[in-house]
Point group: D2
Chain length 341, copies 4
């Protein structure tokens, strides 16, 4: 039995996460090759291309029209996702896009339709579905040990101190870019159920000076699922102790808890007590999950029946994010059915 040929991929968007992903595909994934790196910023494209042995490109068209390329990995700003996804689908390329699928629901629907019509894979970068702890938590749900989920929790806290620029951060980023992970995680840990209602609370506690400009850096969102389960999603832009990603699913059979920022199993005992190191970056803590999600993408692109977060999952998470935004705007609980296209 000969294994399939490596999937020939092009990366579009040579920023921080794009650089990570390009290297992961080129160096840590034997089932794919990285053929090209696209970025209008020639320097960025060239740098990543040199790291990975790919060719630099400044135009997306150059990869979409290249028959030697099977798939694209989109790591541009979210505002560009819709056009790129639709064009890539029409060009017959399989598509891995970083989250969120898009920031507008109508555009997300278009993306899903385009991928379906072109019969290409459309996978969204919900990495936690591939992190071992979350995989094991889901397994504890699937095998019945958790029972019917009743109470769930998912949180994301970015490593602090926060060094971003609120003025350059799009409105609602905490929902569209950060909590979108948690909304997906909560669906992942409560499989077969969907969110019906959202009540969101948010403020600028890390950068209160930016509050008046609409910046939000801290949020707690309450979700209700159609199987009755309650869920809490929580985010902060600044955790002094590093990148913090955790999940909890409690049911009538038991509870599974996942997530730890530990970088190794070493514990140090000293005059100040016992301590262990925590991770400072997603590309560190979740590197293995990133590689695993690309491996699944390759398998799906090769026709295998593997579980991946699809475009539809991207839409579902975006619906929740949109409901959360509406909830904050109107200070009330919002039904998912209220979310407009």
């Amino acid at each position: 039995m000969t294994p399939p040929k490596p999937l020939r991929t092009a990366l579009i968007g040579a920023g921080r996460i794009g650089t990570h992903h390009a290297n992961a595909i080129a160096h840590d994934l034997h089932t794919a090759t990285l053929v090209a790196v696209v970025d209008p910023r020639t320097d960025a494209a060239t740098t990543v291309a040199e790291q990975t042995g790919a060719r630099p490109e400044s135009e997306t068209a150059a990869v979409l029209t290249d028959p030697q390329i099977d798939a694209v990995v989109i790591t541009t700003p979210a505002a560009l996702h819709r056009d790129l996804i639709i064009e890539a689908a029409r060009a017959g390329k399989h598509i891995f896009t970083e989250k969120p699928i898009t920031t507008e629901l109508s555009e997300a629907d278009e993306c899903v339709a385009a991928a379906r019509e072109a019969d290409v894979i459309l996978q969204v970068g919900f990495n936690r579905r591939f992190a071992p702890g979350f995989v094991a938590a889901r397994a504890a749900v699937d095998d019945g040990r958790v029972g019917t989920p009743q109470l769930l929790r998912s949180l994301t806290r970015d490593p602090g101190p926060y060094g971003g620029d609120p003025a350059r951060t799009p409105l609602w980023t905490i929902f569209l870019e950060t909590l979108i992970h948690d909304f997906d995680t909560l669906r992942f840990l409560n499989p077969g159920s969907e969110v019906t209602e959202v009540t969101a609370h948010a403020d600028a506690l890390v950068r209160p000076d930016a509050r008046d400009a609409g910046f939000l850096d801290t949020s707690v969102v309450h979700l209700r699922f159609d199987n009755g389960a309650f869920a809490t999603a929580e985010a902060s832009f600044s955790a002094t102790y590093g990148y913090d990603v955790r999940g909890e699913v409690f049911g009538d059979g038991g509870m599974a808890v996942a997530g730890s920022g530990r970088t190794s199993d070493m514990e140090y005992y000293g005059p100040a007590g016992v301590s262990y190191d925590t991770s400072r970056a997603d590309t560190d803590l979740l590197h293995g999950a990133y590689v695993a999600e690309f491996a699944a993408f390759v398998e799906a692109s090769n026709g295998a029946d593997v579980a991946i977060p699809t475009g539809e999952d991207g839409v579902k998470a975006l619906e929740i994010a949109r409901a959360a935004i509406l909830s904050v705007q109107q200070s009330r609980t919002v039904a998912l059915t209220e979310v407009a296209r």
Copy 2:
């Protein structure tokens, strides 16, 4: 320096928790003696009295008029608290009452006023303030390591399977009896701040058959504090793995997490992986905290300046519980100022 004479106490209410407390005072606390146990159910009073060397009484008046008794510990149903507290205060007895202080705010105010007028100690049984993990978490707030609290969590899950009788459970018990602990814990972990807003969600997920009768066994409550912090309180009446009490306070300096159901530091490694035992009962997991809260009560009664949860703390927690009930009734966020007396 001679230590003060043991505080002479009477226990009122020889039920499950009263039995525990009577034994804790009689056997584990050298600064107090248990003189009498009051319960109209003569059998119950006698049983506990025999266990503890106290005298059984069927009438509260017998202890309130006894000049040889310095203090009372009230472990009756909450509906009786108001009258007992006011009578005890008027009789000049120091008062330790189990939570909640009362179930009605106006009555709670009366209790606080009565104790103040009589110049007696009025302490509410918020035991987590005395559990080592929660004490250490608060210390991490007080010494600045946590910084300004921004995100808090407190939860209570009773050991399952739930064996109670919904039909005999007063309405709103999950707020008035269970989450009242979490409301106090959240205030304890965010000292100097008060709750301004409450959004509560609740349902009967453990006993859905009792939902129509108004029974609620699962709840998630969102709180906002006046220092901007967001908090989540969570409760379930049935955790298969035992009694679960946890707290988390995250701030701009760091995070403190407290609470574990572990019964010892033993870990067993076997064919099914690694495991450790968890506690099945509050009187097991929190026995030390109960003894510590009585020790503090004795010290306070003897005039020492020790930190205890006061009647005022009882009122504050009850205000939150009442706001949570209103929030569930009206399916909306409720300001604490809306809570009627």
Copy 3:
């Protein structure tokens, strides 16, 4: 059913551990009372007596001849144990002695004989048998989960920095006073088996300047049991992170690990990673175990059939310590049968 009257005890030896024990008996144990505290240093006796409500005595005879005293707790230097135990036995008092039972085997045999002849309880202060983690580890042996023990480990590390005076420390203290705990623990975790062979290694690594005077502060001792199990006992006089007491028993069914210096279940997450506090003193970490061993002593003195470390257990541990000393002296493995009386 009336509980027995409190056991009337006298403490002999008002040093550091004696002070702790006196307070534990007087304040934390409702089944015993502390009647007298004996120490030739009148100040010491008086201080402890005032703390506990006992009467101070300077002569042991005063308590041995007092018919109102049922039992003695011996916390003097080990060199005095033999005479005190024999006298107390002859006076018909039940006896709790701190470890080691004596430092000479022939004297230990005399003590056991005296207690047997007088039909009094003789219990040795092997506190770990009463620490919850070790109790649970033993339970995992007793219930078959560990299977037949094959590899065991026990260690004791005193909190550092070491502040003792090597010049005032008796020779072989690390074996007779420190590792004696581990020798007993290993027997406790391998019930029904006895040690056959000892190979000990020791040096002065904490205070190398005192090595030439025969001082030893660090040791590793290898034991062989008659069921084939291998065991390692380890000790250091100076652990920067606090008092460290751990045990491990590995068998053909699984492994149980006990012991942790944690002072609470709080974990702090900060810029330096995650940390938790450790205990600095045995009287802190093992306070509950001390109370539990006294409770068992009282029960045994009252005729109950409870498991306690007996004089015979004290002899067995001393045999191992003596073999370890011989092993160090002669740099070879020593059979337990070689240990001379």
Copy 4:
């Protein structure tokens, strides 16, 4: 800056660990390619070759004479190591050999000399030096947090139930194949010091029926280092809970503990308490360490100055293993200087 071309490697020995290593090099390491797989068992070579895209070979000469091959990875039985290493060195190939370097010291010396003369890299497969927990423990030694090591521990327990065939296991396998890892780990955690003395104890506790044939499956080895530190190495062929690899280094500054069989950070809370999964195989638990050691081998082969376990480290560990064997044979402590070539 162009990265070096991938190192062209051939694997010699397509058994269990060879199969793992071939796949790791071919699939998880972008800095190397696997060109050939050698095994006289044609089926085995072909199977692994097909998995990895390499060419199968039945003769070692075919790869040693191939100028398109830069390096060999030796995973044959240890008895073949000496000849293969010397031949590969003479052929100018860089060499990665699984442990032990050889089973005879004189042969190990020859291997080191041959590699030195040919100026090729000779690395021994001491994988724990590349496992994150052990790396972090060593870092805590290097940065001074541990201080001067005084007490060390390293253990290896193979996953049970033991399914090997004692009759087909070479004598002393527990020392030469299993504990050799621990001997190296202890040197790794006490850098700059060397072992001076060995006292070994061993027996057949897992398979007592094979004891008379000289089979040994359980062992505890005591080591003394020239900086005074005491160390314990421990091994069992059968741990019911899976593959267990741990290390501990205690010094006058603090302690670092490494090693955990956890397969993820998920914890399950259920009716039987809390549990987590443990690893059942070295190729699972240590896969990342294997990849990391190959990455270091490639870098070293490319001339980089990276820390690797060298042939000399292989000799040192083998000296300790040989001393341990002599110690068991003669039931006494053996000085390392006694070990004959």
